[in-house]
Each structure stands twice: as structure tokens, then as C-alpha cells.
Amino acid sequence: MTRAHVLDHVGLVARLLLGGVLLVAGGLKVGNPLGSARAVQGYDVMPFEVAEYIGYALPWVEVVIGVLLVLGLFTRTSALLGALLMAAFVIGITQAWVRGLTIDCGCFGGGGQVDAGETEYGQEIARDLGLALCGVWLLVRARTAYSLDRFLFGDAKERT
């Protein structure tokens, strides 16, 4: 087993982790756009109407990026978008924590106000940072095992 071979599989794991989580998180929210809108509004960082549209669109964006990552298609671009999403989530959760809001992150549906003792900001931030790192890995090294990129475009594209 060569070094490249191992790294390709690390990339595969990163893809499936970030893509899988995005796909599940988006999928759970697609059927409940109102809930998603309310979750985003709960962060209280942007105008109410804007938050509503972001809330409606976010599940679809997550699903699309998730599918692309799981398939390994346009890996580098998808990984960039996925990592940016995770970074945005980390910032959102951190500001909620710092400002003393007591909300559920709404990451997998749910969201909104919770009791002060029920917040899980620490775990949520740690998880999203981990997922962001998966994205960064793929950004640096987009070549992965079992990817549609390799199947469609060959090795050439992935080395760039």
C-alpha cells in the first residue's frame, strides 16, 4: 500500500464524514422549512426576513453539497463550500454562546429556545470544527478514493 493510496482513503473518509453529515442534516430539515427558518431566526444575527430565506434555502444547499461530496464530484469546490458552511455555523454558535442566548443549534432540525441548562454549544462547536477540518483536508488534497471526479476526469484534474 503506497502513501498516496493511504492518503486517498483518508480523503474518502473526510468526504463521507462532511458529505454524510451535510446530507443527513439537510435531509432532516428539507421537509420542515418553517422550523429551519425559525432555527436561523433564533440566532438573531440578521434581519428577520433575511433569516427566513436563509432558513428556507439552507437545507437544500446542505443536501446538494452533501450529495456532491459523497459522490466525490467537484470535490474541491464542494469541500470549500462545506468548510465555509461549517465555519459559518461555528461563528453563529459561538456568538450565541458569547451573547448568552439559550438556543438549540437546530443543526439536525429542532432549534429555537431551550432552557439554559440544555445548551450544548461546546459539543456543537467541536463537531463543526472537526467537519470543517475534513473540508480543509479535501481543499488541500482533493484526490480521494472512489470518487466520481476520478472516474469522469481521470487523475489529471485531481493533481491540480
Binding site: G31, P33, L34, G35, G42, W60, V64, L152
Partner: protein, 262 residues
């Protein structure tokens, strides 16, 4: 053949076997992604407008609360009691069971000005629009002069589980019959309910009140101060301190230890 020619030829060959096809594939995928996004955006924008007829209750502006007992003509200086509720919310059912009767009585006597904000909190938890449909059906009952009975009956018939399906259709009719509607009035109420006449209105109220910061139900606000309504219920015996409740509502003054801290 020069070296350069050979390179060019090799590149052309690579292009014809791979690059050309790749461009098509890339183009195709981009188009698919774009379609998914557009469809998603369209679906998303239409979700909150799917209630059918979108009428406003008589004399009520979009996003504004109902005043089911406006006929009681409360004096201008009567305390304003704002109640934010959702027919599917279990705590709202408890509130209705314990305090609803007293609040209704005070409003009917014109001692308070009662404003009802119908919210859709459980819809935002489970998806679907059953809370909005239930709220719409209650406004239909208000149109038929059966608010009090319908309101009480529908809370009593609240489904056990909070899931997407929400109230069964027949539950509304059952509540309407319990509220004493029959004949033409029942038919008109049924038509109004089936049309989802006020679904958009109720969803609009939820938007407006959420923007104001009222995210949970039931919330009771007395002359602008949030009232911790459960403080008048004895946690052990379950008895309601009706006198205190009346005192708070009719004075418009919420004692400091009864102010809700949400």
C-alpha cells in the same frame, strides 16, 4: 514533425477522447445543480402560501391579534391581556384547562381587553401546517359566533402525540358540534375550515409575533409585562388561585415575583 507538433497532436487526441466529453458532463451537472436549487427555492417560497384562500378575519389586519370579545366593549383603560397560543401545544392545553375559563369570563365581562395571537410553534417543530389549519378553523368558528365553545373543545380534543399529521379532520367537526354549531352555521363553518380560509392569516401572526420576540406558547402578557401564569397554579394540589389571577389581570399589574423570565 517537430516536437511542438507532436505535443499539439497529443493534446488534440486527449481532447477528443476526454476533454470534450468532460465539458458536456460538467455542463450537465452544473445544469442539474442549478435546477435543483431553483426548484428548491420555488418550493421553499410557496410553502407558506399553500393554505388556499387567504382572507383576514373581520376587522383584523395581517399579523394582528383577534379580539374575540370586542363586543363586550371593555373601557378604554381596561388592561390589555395578550395571549399567544397554539392549539397543538400541550402547555397551552394546560393553560386553557386551568385558567382559560377565568380569562374568558373577565373578557366577556369587559374587565380586560383580551387579544388572541394564534401561533404555529408546533408546526415549526414537526413540519406540516396543522397548527395553522386548527387556528384557521377557530377563526371560522369566531365568524359563526362560536369562539368560546370551539376554542375550549378543540383544546380538549388535542391529539396525544405531536407529529406532522396533527389534528384529524373529523376532530374539527367534533369540536364544532360540541360548540353548538348546527345547520347552516355548521355548514358555513365547515366550508370555511375546508378552504383553509385563515391559514395564511395565522401563519402571518406567527411571523409577526416571532419577530417581536414571542417564540414560545402559551405566553401571557398583561399590559406589556410577561406574566408567569403557572405561578397561580399550586404545583402540589393543582388548584388555581383564581383570586390572584383575577387581581393580576384586572389591575394590569404583574407582581415582580410573577413576571416571566423568558
Amino acid at each position: 514533425m517537430s516536437n511542438q507538433d507532436r505535443k499539439a497532436k497529443a493534446q488534440a487526441a486527449a481532447g477528443s477522447t476526454g476533454r470534450g466529453a468532460n465539458a458536456v458532463v460538467i455542463g450537465g451537472v452544473v445544469v442539474i445543480v442549478a435546477i435543483v436549487l431553483v426548484v428548491g427555492a420555488v418550493v421553499v417560497n410557496s410553502v407558506r402560501d399553500s393554505g388556499g384562500a387567504s382572507e383576514l378575519p373581520q376587522g383584523v389586519a395581517a399579523g394582528e391579534p383577534l379580539e374575540p370579545y370586542a363586543d363586550a366593549n371593555p373601557p378604554k383603560d381596561a388592561p390589555v391581556v395578550d395571549v399567544y397560543e397554539d392549539f397543538r401545544c400541550p402547555a397551552c392545553k394546560v393553560y386553557e384547562e386551568y385558567l382559560g375559563g377565568t380569562v374568558t369570563e373577565l373578557a366577556q365581562d369587559g374587565r380586560i381587553r383580551l387579544r388572541i395571537h394564534l401561533k404555529t410553534v408546533i408546526d415549526s417543530v414537526t413540519g406540516g401546517e396543522s397548527s395553522a389549519v386548527a387556528g384557521s378553523s377557530a377563526v371560522c368558528a369566531l365568524d359563526q359566533g362560536a369562539w368560546t365553545g370551539y376554542h375550549e373543545a378543540l383544546f380538549a380534543l388535542q391529539p396525544e402525540s405531536e407529529d406532522r399529521s396533527g389534528f384529524a379532520e373529523e376532530t374539527y367537526t367534533q369540536a364544532a358540534e360540541r360548540a353548538g354549531l348546527s345547520g347552516d352555521a355548521l355548514d358555513e363553518w365547515q366550508q370555511c375550515t375546508d378552504d383553509g380560509t385563515y391559514v395564511d392569516y395565522v401563519q402571518g401572526v406567527d411571523d409577526a409575533t416571532t419577530e417581536e420576540g414571542i417564540r414560545a406558547t402559551p405566553t401571557v402578557v398583561v399590559d406589556g409585562t410577561q406574566f408567569n401564569w403557572s405561578s397561580v397554579i399550586d404545583q402540589q394540589s393543582g388548584e388555581v388561585d383564581t383570586e390572584t389571577l383575577k387581581q393580576v389581570l384586572t389591575s394590569g399589574d404583574v407582581p415582580e415575583d410573577m413576571v416571566a423570565t423568558q
